[in-house]
């Protein structure tokens, strides 16, 4: 469903999704600059072009819900509400970072928001989210767990094991596949012989494929899936078709990609589409610009705070290998 076909009442929802998307987009653009300037060390994997999935799924979540994400997970954690300042402090290796500078981009986590971490191992977040779904079920929290994964993880054994276990135990697990067509540097068509839809069907798991660059479509699908999960109907798979604008990691020149493919993908840009739909629904351009400016101001302040923050404490780091104090 295209955004323009939604009733005007959805304009507010789309505006809210747009605000999330512009924050995620601008955070990642800033990270790209900081990385190029040497202010962000290590590896970073940007999700530019995939923001509609992060915004749409997050809009369907409730406070008790949990999620585990991937190496390309900045959008998922920011859309869930991760504090932007503490996010930048983490990725810039500062003591005030959410993980006190020990994890970086691939391990951002905020347990108070149910964010069980990004993950450096492809597919590894899926069974962790499954375990979190088990905790929701046993503890009767009413919550659901979201496992974000990319199409590259479709070839990982833990996905197949997790589909089986989630179906057997009817767990409240939403499996969100961001299918951008690329498994690192290889087209997924060359890596995976099956289709996710058929895989879900093999386990009798409800499946839906959506345009992952249409934030409202993702949000609607995630809401419907979430309702089914909360009603105890077992796991769901949501495959969001999208496009990876940047390389596998920053610094990847993407010489393996075709110019036409990149151009076609860029034309599906989720922010441009949301903006056009908002304008068509009568939202003033100045108001949308204001959303962009507000996100930019928040990011600028966060980066300034991160630059000013202390470097992490080695003593505190080594003290956190194990939990101090008495057994509970």
């Amino acid at each position: 469903m295209a955004p323009s076909e939604h009733l005007p009442a959805t304009t507010d929802r789309l505006r809210s999704l747009y605000r999330t998307m512009t924050l995620v987009r601008q955070v990642e653009q800033a990270l790209g600059r900081l990385f190029a300037d040497g202010e962000v060390p290590g590896f970073i994997h940007l999700s530019i072009g995939q923001e509609a999935i992060a915004a749409g799924v997050a809009s369907a979540l409730q406070p008790q819900d949990t999620l585990a994400t991937t190496h390309r997970g900045h959008g998922h954690v920011l859309a869930r509400g991760m504090a932007v300042e503490r996010f930048f402090k983490e990725i810039m290796g500062r003591d005030g970072g959410l993980c006190r500078g020990r994890g970086g981009s691939m391990h951002v986590a905020d347990l108070s928001l149910g964010i069980l971490g990004a993950n450096g191992i492809v597919g590894a977040g899926i069974p962790i989210a499954l375990g979190s779904a088990l905790a929701h079920q046993v503890r009767r929290t009413g919550g659901v767990a979201v496992a974000y994964f990319g199409d590259g993880a479709m070839a990982e054994g833990v996905l197949h094991e997790s589909l089986n276990l989630a179906a057997l135990w009817k767990l409240p697990l939403l499996l969100v596949c961001e299918n951008n067509g690329w498994s690192e540097f290889s087209p997924t068509a060359r890596q995976f012989a099956a289709r996710l839809q058929a895989l879900a069907a093999a386990f009798d798991i409800g499946f839906e494929r959506v345009d992952g660059n249409d934030a409202l479509a993702v949000a609607d699908a995630a809401l419907a899936a979430g309702a089914a999960l909360r009603a105890g109907h077992g796991p769901r798979v949501l495959e969001c078709m999208t496009h990876r604008v940047r390389g596998h990691f920053e610094g990847d020149a993407q010489k393996y990609r075709d110019a036409d493919e990149l151009k076609a993908g860029a034309e599906r840009d989720p922010l441009a589409r949301a903006r056009a739909a908002l304008l068509q629904a009568g939202v003033a351009a100045a108001d949308i610009d204001h959303d962009d400016t507000q996100a930019a101001a928040c990011i600028d302040a966060a980066i300034a705070a991160a630059r000013a923050d202390a470097l992490p404490s080695f003593e505190a780091a080594i003290a956190d290998v194990y939990t101090a104090g008495e057994a509970a």
């Binding site: 500078g101 191992i121 069974p127 375990g131 979190s132 290998v321 939990t323 509970a328």
Partner: protein, 325 residues
């Protein structure tokens, strides 16, 4: 509280039962642990007592069930996973090494991962190269994991209760060859992870071991006593963390030490202990530090081969004599 004569495997089951009773966050996961009561019957009767929500049969998916235990632990449960043979932890190494061990540290101390992975190691059953290994040194090498190896029924009970109560991931290594061993278990006895025990005092040399080879060391010590040699035997009980103070203190009294384990000697637990004694106990040493452990080969199947492979009391006695020569 009760004091009862029971087998090692029954002590494991009793600890699980009492933990399930004491803490509603405890859930058990594993292959054939519920309806079948476990391959070695360590979970017998628990499904009937606590129901299928808390005592769960899982499919044969080691990687996913251990990872799920990490997610469940972060979600407020205290999962206890059984891996049927220690050899199969190889299938769950990402879950243990990259996820469970690192979550607390990697997330800046935001939370802990209170999971226990129970698994039996050890040979002596003609189980062959993929059902007999002692892989505890691999796990003891990973910052963030604890590794506990009980040698008798009392410790099987008390250390398992302590492991389940612990806030961090604990690998609880049982021994297939000890499951049938009987002993007195007092359910009121508590234990702390990382505390060794002197199971036989002696003045002439120190034998350091854990798990099934503690009994091998005791047997060797009894034989040595016939020669007028009094060996002190230390049961480490936990190898990560391990009780340096007790071992160094013993060395300061005996001036000689031999480390004994069933696992392969090369790059093993014994190497770590001997290196520490050489560093920190150098001034106390009157003889080279020795290790008695398995040769650098897979565990063989045939009885004759496996007997030749296994560490026995004669090998311990020979090492002891060498340090005293």
């Amino acid at each position: 509280m009760s004091v009862t004569e029971m087998r090692y495997v029954q002590a494991v089951a009793q600890a699980l039962r009492d933990s399930l009773q004491a803490d509603e966050r405890v859930v058990l996961l594993g292959e054939d642990i519920a309806h079948a009561g476990g391959s070695f019957k360590a979970t017998r009767g628990l499904l009937e007592a606590f129901g299928p929500e808390r005592v769960r049969d899982t499919p044969i998916s080691e990687a996913t069930i251990v990872s799920a235990a990490v997610g469940a632990a972060l979600g407020g449960l205290k999962p206890v996973v059984e891996i049927m043979f220690m050899d199969f932890v190889t299938l769950a190494m990402d879950a243990l090494v990259n996820q469970a061990a690192k979550a607390r540290f990697m997330f800046g101390g935001q939370g802990s991962v209170p999971l226990v992975l129970r698994t039996p190691h050890g040979g002596g059953l003609n189980a062959g190269p993929q059902h007999s290994q002692c892989l505890e040194a691999w796990l003891a090498h990973v910052p963030g994991l604890k590794v506990v190896v009980p040698s008798d029924p009392q410790d099987a009970y008390s250390l398992l209760r302590a492991a389940i109560a612990d806030p961090d991931p604990v690998v609880f290594v049982e021994h297939k060859g000890l499951y049938a061993r009987k002993g007195t278990v007092d359910t009121g006895v508590t234990a702390s992870l990382g505390q060794a025990r002197i199971v036989r005092p002696g003045r002439d040399l120190t034998l350091v071991s854990y798990g099934a080879t503690v009994a091998t060391c005791l047997q060797a010590a009894n034989d040595l006593a016939g020669e007028g040699v009094e060996a002190e035997v230390i049961d480490l009980r936990s190898i990560q963390p391990w009780d340096r103070a007790t071992v160094l203190d013993s060395l300061a009294r005996t001036h000689r030490a031999v480390v004994v384990h069933e696992a392969v000697q090369a790059f093993g637990v014994g190497a770590e202990i001997v290196a520490t004694l050489a560093d920190e106990g150098f001034d106390d040493l009157d003889a080279p530090l020795l290790r008695v452990a398995a040769p650098f080969m897979p565990v063989p199947f045939a009885t004759s081969l496996e007997q030749a492979y296994a560490v026995d009391a004669q090998a311990v006695i020979a090492a002891a004599r060498k340090t005293l020569a």
